[in-house]
């Protein structure tokens, strides 16, 4: 009951503070641009001085160029959005005093935190879902159909990665009283995960592998990275669990 009330407030805040519309507009815009830029980059190059020569060096665009571009745009901008939207979620409320005002009511601290996570996760899920639909549609027009199930799987895997960014940023926001410190700390943690993910062998079991897996599925491959998926889910759970435990012990 209290969780529902808190979640309703968080979703309303996502809407009223324009975070949800901004996230949707940013990710959908980029999703529309991805197949367009993949399809028309050679034509654009031809408009440059000596562009004809440069264009000859560029291989003809394929449907996978659109997919690659979509993944790059979504992962980069969803990472920025996830950090910006989550870094102040707890830190600002602690600093301003709204957390103290609300947490003397019968709202458990875990419910306060998890409602924030769920609201942010839903906001980014809606944004990535709409971005996926937009990209699918433009890719269909410009290149042809993508394998629907594989495309859905790719977007779910992207979403899981973004949820991990949100969970880590929320953890950092819980540990500090400054949103700038929370953002910096979260960026550092995510960068560390990215570095570890680029290491041979170790990287196959880390969240960074999920996008590669999704892309291979869209390309028709049969590779699997279930361990990376479970590790990602475990990291989300661990980040949220640590945040809840830390928050429970804090004085407001």
């Amino acid at each position: 009951m209290t969780f529902q009330a808190s979640l309703r407030k968080e979703l309303l805040e996502q809407w009223r503070s324009y975070r949800m519309p901004i996230a949707v507009v940013v990710l959908v815009s980029l999703a529309l641009v991805s197949p367009l830029s993949a399809r028309f980059t050679p034509e654009l190059m031809k408009l440059l001085p000596n562009g004809e020569e440069i264009a000859k060096l560029i291989p003809p665009p394929t449907i996978m160029d659109a997919v690659t571009q979509h993944i790059k745009n979504t992962t980069q901008f969803a990472l920025i959005l996830a950090i910006l939207m989550s870094m102040g979620a707890v830190a600002v409320e602690k600093d301003k005093g709204t957390a103290a005002m609300i947490l003397v009511k019968p709202l458990p601290r875990w419910a306060f935190l998890l409602s924030k996570f769920v609201a942010l996760a839903l906001t980014l899920a809606v944004s990535i879902l709409l971005a996926g639909l937009a990209c699918y549609y433009y890719t269909l027009i410009l290149f042809g159909p993508l394998p629907l199930m594989a495309w859905c799987a790719l977007n779910v895997l992207l979403l899981l990665q973004v949820w991990l960014y949100v969970a880590l940023t929320l953890l950092c926001s819980t540990l500090t009283r400054s949103q700038a410190a929370a953002g910096g700390l979260a960026f550092g943690l995510i960068a560390l995960l990215a570095i570890l993910g680029s290491l041979p062998r170790v990287g196959d079991y880390l969240p960074a592998r999920l996008t590669g897996w999704g892309m291979e599925l869209v390309a028709g491959g049969s590779a699997q990275a279930w361990i990376a998926l479970w590790v990602t889910l475990a990291l989300i759970g661990a980040a949220l669990g640590t945040a809840c435990l830390s928050f429970r012990a804090q004085e407001l």
Partner: protein, 314 residues
């Protein structure tokens, strides 16, 4: 019956001992003024009693609920107004109160009725749909009181509820608090003595984390406020007043004398003797007086004496 009981509460922040074995109890249905200078431990006490901070030692009970054990149960028995209440600025007061009502598990119709009632009570009914972002400090304070009252808690903690308000805002808030008497127990921290004198039934004075006095207001005044006589001489008598004050200090029935220009303030140990001897002594010293009166002891005299800042300078 006691609404609040505190036994040996301890709290340390680094090298600072914020609460040093605080012990006090507050009867049900009274407005209790928790008085102390800045940094005395008032806010720390309220934060511990409302479950926002943890004590390092000691025990406390609020409305028969032990503090620091089951926050969910405690939360249903208290209302809390912080010193500087902050809200979600994108909400309206009606939305904020509705949210708080939902946290207490009230149904939608009950929430709507309670919100209307409270907004009316605190004088915000006509602003119920305005964004809180545009509210003045006084309006925020009144909304803070409304949210603290929402669950009809038996104990209300108000941390400096009127300190930052202008005289009109202060009067409104204090009238509101006075109206709560016997509906619930109000535990109100403040460093403004006039506010305590105006609304509080009983008073606790805290200094350096320890309770230095606790009693009903009238009892506190009779117990601790030493009688004071004020004499004001004609303007050219500053030096004679100074000299006369010096001679008074050696008298057994005089506890202390302070002089400010031509005004002498004499604190006495024996009122009857002072009534008989003080005025003749002034006349004998050749002073021409404009004013001579026995000053009603105030809570300020008690407060300054007990917290050791204004001990009569002899």
């Amino acid at each position: 019956m006691h609404a609040i009981r505190i036994e040996g509460l301890q709290k340390r922040f680094g090298k600072v001992q914020a609460l040093d074995g605080l012990t006090l109890s507050v009867k049900e249905g009274v407005v209790f003024g928790f008085l102390g200078p800045n940094g005395a431990g008032k806010t720390t006490t309220i934060r511990i009693l409302s479950g926002l901070a943890h004590a390092d030692g000691g025990q406390a009970w609020v409305a028969d609920q032990p503090v620091g054990v089951a926050q969910g149960l405690l939360a249903r028995r208290i209302g809390y107004l912080p010193e500087d209440p902050t809200f979600y600025n994108w909400m309206s007061p009606a939305e904020f109160l509705d949210y708080v009502g939902a946290l207490f598990g009230l149904t939608r119709p009950k929430r709507a009725a309670r919100c209307r009632e409270l907004l009316q009570l605190v004088g915000l009914a006509e602003h119920s749909k305005r964004r809180i972002a545009g509210f003045s400090r006084g309006m925020r304070q009144r909304l803070g009181i409304a949210q603290a009252l929402l669950n009809r808690a038996p104990v209300l903690f108000l941390d400096e509820p009127a300190s930052a308000l202008d005289p009109v805002g202060r009067k409104e808030v204090l009238d509101l608090i006075a109206g709560l008497r016997e509906q619930c127990t109000v535990f109100m921290s403040t460093h403004i003595l006039a506010d305590v004198e105006r609304v509080c039934d009983s008073v606790g004075i805290i200094s350096r984390g320890r309770l230095v006095a606790e009693a009903d207001q009238a009892e506190l005044l009779s117990r601790y406020a030493a009688p004071v006589f004020e004499l004001e001489a004609e303007s050219e008598y500053a030096r004679p007043v100074q000299a006369w004050a010096g001679s008074l200090r050696s008298l057994a029935w005089v506890r202390g004398v302070t002089v400010d220009g031509v005004v002498a303030r004499v604190t006495v140990a024996d009122v009857e003797r002072a009534k008989r001897e003080l005025l003749p002594a002034a006349i004998q010293a050749g002073l021409i007086l404009k004013r001579y009166e026995m000053v009603r002891p105030s809570l300020e005299d008690v407060f300054l004496r007990l917290v050791g800042q204004g001990e009569v300078r002899a």
